[in-house]
């Protein structure tokens, strides 16, 4: 079953690639624009892109560009800085994930334990995700530099990025932990009550194991969110060396080097997949706790 999924996935990716090249070959050279006013360049709304090399490079050009030098001369092939940047961002996202999971799990526990906490905090936790990261990225960053300068605790810039990333990561974990801890059947709760088991034994032996099927997808989502958070935070803080900055940089050079921006784009895609895949591995070791879990 797993093997056929991978096969079908490959077929799907191939289909997308074929569609890309087919459009390039057959599509209108100037794209498809609605509502254009004659004589006014740039008017109207473009629904289908132009098929020239600048707008839509060939797929083999995109891949080939990865192995050409980054900025001419003896600089290493593009793939090297892409991978380096991706790994850096991955590391930062991982730290952000850990922080987010810790905070989210704590919030989930508190909210399950006390109804009042759930009523008071949950709405704010949901609203928190509507606040754009970019608004408080500078705040975290400047607090971070202040702490760093105050000689007490060294606070590197990437740590600020990780904290901001954790802001996106904590949310699915808080919700997942809350739902999971509340998931046991009435009958299991009665059973524990009949054993005169207090809060902690019930938590350890019933609520936490029962929470695993809710926790795993939440952890996966948190990993993906941490990656997005890290990329966005890098851009807003202006951190160098990560994939977020590279995306913006190479996009700026897009007119002279159209295939180059695809490098960090592929890098970010790979980044998201690796992050989610790693977390999914956690689920493998917890198979027994997922028995009786309905397949989505």
């Amino acid at each position: 079953m797993r093997r056929s999924a991978v096969l079908w996935g490959a077929v799907g990716v191939l289909a997308v690639m074929v569609a890309w090249e087919a459009y390039k070959f057959l599509g209108p050279a100037d794209g498809f624009v609605v509502g254009a006013v004659a004589g006014e360049t740039g008017s109207g709304f473009m629904l289908l892109p132009r098929t020239n090399e600048r707008s839509m490079p060939h797929i083999w050009d995109m891949v080939g560009r990865l192995f050409e030098s980054t900025s001419g001369g003896s600089t290493p092939p593009l793939i090297v800085p892409v991978v380096t940047a991706a790994l850096l961002t991955l590391g930062i996202a991982a730290v952000g994930w850990i922080i987010g999971v810790a905070v989210g799990a704590l919030l989930g526990l508190v909210m399950q334990r006390w109804r009042l906490a759930e009523w008071g905090l949950l709405p704010w936790i949901v609203v928190s995700q509507t606040v754009p990261l970019i608004a408080f990225a500078p705040i975290v960053s400047s607090i971070g530099t202040q702490i760093d300068r105050a000689d007490g605790l060294p606070w590197p810039q990437w740590l600020s990025v990780a904290i901001i990333a954790s802001y996106l990561a904590f949310f699915p974990v808080a919700i997942g932990v809350l739902r999971g801890l509340e998931s046991p059947d009435r009958i299991h709760l009665d059973l524990m009550k009949s054993y005169a088991a207090g809060y902690w034994p019930t938590l350890l032996r019933l609520r936490i194991p029962a929470a695993v099927p809710h926790l795993l997808p939440a952890l996966r989502l948190a990993a993906a969110s941490a990656v997005v958070g890290a990329v966005v935070a890098e851009v807003s803080i202006g951190m160098r060396g990560g994939i977020g900055r590279m995306l913006i940089q190479l996009a700026g050079q897009g007119s002279s080097d159209p295939a180059a921006p695809w490098g960090p784009t592929f890098g970010s895609i790979a980044l998201g997949l690796v992050a989610a895949g790693t977390v999914a591995l956690i689920g493998l070791g917890l198979k027994n706790y997922r028995r009786g879990e309905a397949t989505a």
Binding site: I187, H188, D190, S194, A196
Partner: protein, 261 residues
């Protein structure tokens, strides 16, 4: 000392359509080692009464004593074992893990636990299945695990809420025979909720007939049999006569459909 003594016990549930009197004026005494069944149509309060004895709910009026203590104290002291209609096994634990659950919770040492689990598994005939998970077992086997678990700490009182309700008739009869044997061997008192007349008569020393609206006891039928309760009993005239007695007592009870309440 009696296992359970209730005096004037009542239970009222407030609902948005007014109060529901689930139980009223319940006077019942269960002697040590006695097997008592509670039988009656839906809404007669039999499960509610069981939950009151188990301290899973508290009575609105009257007194209830379990081995001379309050129900709450009896629960804290773990004087009873309980089995529900659904086996309620934890899906992530093996059969052995599920049977061991109460032992773990109450700090029994590992070696003693393993020995007791093996003993109980043999008692219910599941020795070959101790490492299986609940989703690999049939309904009857899951229920046997639940019974083994209820017996884990050798309670003096067993509370059972229609434990065989979800099983087919053949498995049911087999498990009834097993339960009769186990309860005789262990000497525990049993309060057993059922809505099957043959089951109540087969297993019990006394059958308590209840009726709904309001939930109350209407009759108590003695079921004394000669000899042990085994397969032979099911075909004896004495058995049929007692079944008829219980049925007639129940017919004095108005049956009421749920949506006419």
């Amino acid at each position: 000392m009696s296992a359970v003594v209730t005096s004037g016990v009542g239970k009222v549930f407030p609902t948005k359509d007014g109060d529901v009197v689930a139980l009223t004026e319940v006077d019942l005494e269960v002697a040590e080692g006695e097997f008592v069944s509670l039988i009656g149509p839906s809404g007669c309060g039999k499960s509610t009464l069981l939950r009151l004895i188990a301290d899973l709910d508290s009575a609105s009026s009257g007194t209830l004593e379990v081995f001379g203590k309050t129900a709450h104290q009896a629960r804290v002291d773990q004087d009873y074992g309980i089995a529900f209609q659904q086996a309620g096994l934890l899906p992530w634990r093996t059969v052995a893990g599920n049977i061991a659950l109460p032992l773990e919770l109450h700090g029994v040492a590992k070696a003693a636990r393993a020995a007791r689990v093996a003993e109980l598994a043999a008692l219910v005939g599941l020795t070959d299945f101790v490492d299986r998970y609940p989703d690999q077992l049939s309904g009857g086997m899951q229920q046997r695990v639940a019974i083994a678990r209820a017996l884990a700490e050798q309670p003096r009182l067993l509370l059972m809420d229609e434990p065989f309700g979800a099983l087919d008739e053949m498995t049911r009869e087999h498990l009834q025979t097993e339960l009769a044997r186990i309860s005789a061997e262990s000497g525990a008192a049993v309060v057993f909720v059922t809505h099957s007349i043959p089951e109540a008569v087969f297993l019990s020393d006394r059958v308590v007939v209840m009726s709904p609206r309001p939930g109350r006891i209407t009759d108590i039928i003695e079921v004394t049999v000669d000899g042990a309760r085994g397969e032979a009993l099911r075909e004896s005239p004495q058995y049929f006569e007692r079944v008829t007695a219980v049925r007639e007592a129940l017919h004095g009870v108005p049956t009421e459909r749920a949506n006419e309440r």
